[in-house]
């Protein structure tokens, strides 16, 4: 079987890449992609650990909740991005200067 450390390295790599995407990208949707990558990295950890208790599978259940929350979060975030786009006519984050109406 695959050593658990390899899952964790993969997860760390995905986390790092997601972080870089969040920091460097200008477009709000790509930033959202970075967030999803980080959530996936976290899920990977949960599931990697969960395989060592096949009867309890708490990790898998938790991963399932993470996926659910990610879905809800993505829906709301995209709705907000759409709203921002309609208001400022841009989806580039640093061009959104003031949050007041």
């Amino acid at each position: 079987m695959i050593p658990i450390a390899h899952y964790l390295f993969l997860s760390a790599a995905l986390f790092g890449i997601g972080l870089v995407i969040i920091i460097t990208k200008k477009n709000a949707i790509v930033v959202l992609m970075g967030i999803e990558l980080i959530l996936n990295a976290a899920n990977l950890n949960l599931i990697a650990f969960s395989q060592y208790d096949p009867t309890l599978i708490q990790g898998q259940s938790f991963a399932l909740f993470v996926i659910i929350i990610a879905a809800a979060e993505a829906a709301v975030a995209l709705a907000i991005i759409l709203k921002v786009y309609h208001f400022y006519n841009t989806s580039v984050l640093h061009e959104v200067h003031n949050l007041g109406d």
């Binding site: 200008k26 992609m33 599931i47 650990f49 879905a71």
Partner: protein, 175 residues
């Protein structure tokens, strides 16, 4: 077993390469489709970790749901004028610096912690059997017993998110 490992590393490599490609590409839509490849490879890796159900849920929710939402978002927030939808970069140095330093930090921790030698992991490995067909039953029972509260809360959150998203994204009412 060696075949299984080769396949695992292939999927891991695909996940990382496509994630890196998201980082390097300027085209937002390419990024979305590359993210699909990442998600699919991660789903494959879930299967290696005996989490079939989560893998399929990953495909359904992330690829079939979130990704489609994102592609829709890309299409709706950009003028469809023939030009490719691109995104610029900024804070390149700090981004790379923070990312790489986080990665090295986590890797160091993983190596230092030596998870493979933790007692519960060791015992888990002894009792580890190949993925058997009872995982879904277990998840179902767990969700309806131990995790019933988070399960219901998740349902409410989903409903709220649905309503909230629809409310936020709706066209402003004309008076």
């Amino acid at each position: 077993m060696i075949f299984q490992q080769v396949v695992f590393y292939c999927f891991a490599a695909t996940a990382i390469i496509s994630a890196l490609a998201i980082l390097t590409t300027r085209n937002v839509l390419y990024a979305a489709f590359l993210l699909m490849i990442t998600f699919l490879s991660i789903a494959a890796i879930y299967v290696f970790a005996a989490a079939e159900f989560i893998a399929i849920a990953q495909i359904m929710v992330y690829v079939g749901g979130i990704l489609v939402l994102m592609v829709f978002g890309v299409m709706l927030t950009n003028r469809i004028s023939g030009a490719a939808v691109t995104t610029g970069n900024h804070h390149r140095f700090w981004g790379l610096f923070i990312g790489i330093s986080f990665f090295t930090l986590i890797c160091t921790v993983i190596i230092k912690a030596n998870f493979g030698q933790l007692p519960w992991i060791m015992s888990g490995r002894e009792t580890y059997t190949a993925p058997v067909g009872t995982a879904i039953n277990n998840i179902g029972i767990k969700l309806m017993t131990d995790f019933i509260l988070p399960f219901e809360i998740a349902a409410i959150i989903l409903l709220l998110a649905l309503l909230g998203a629809a409310f936020v994204a709706r066209k402003p009412q004309k008076n």
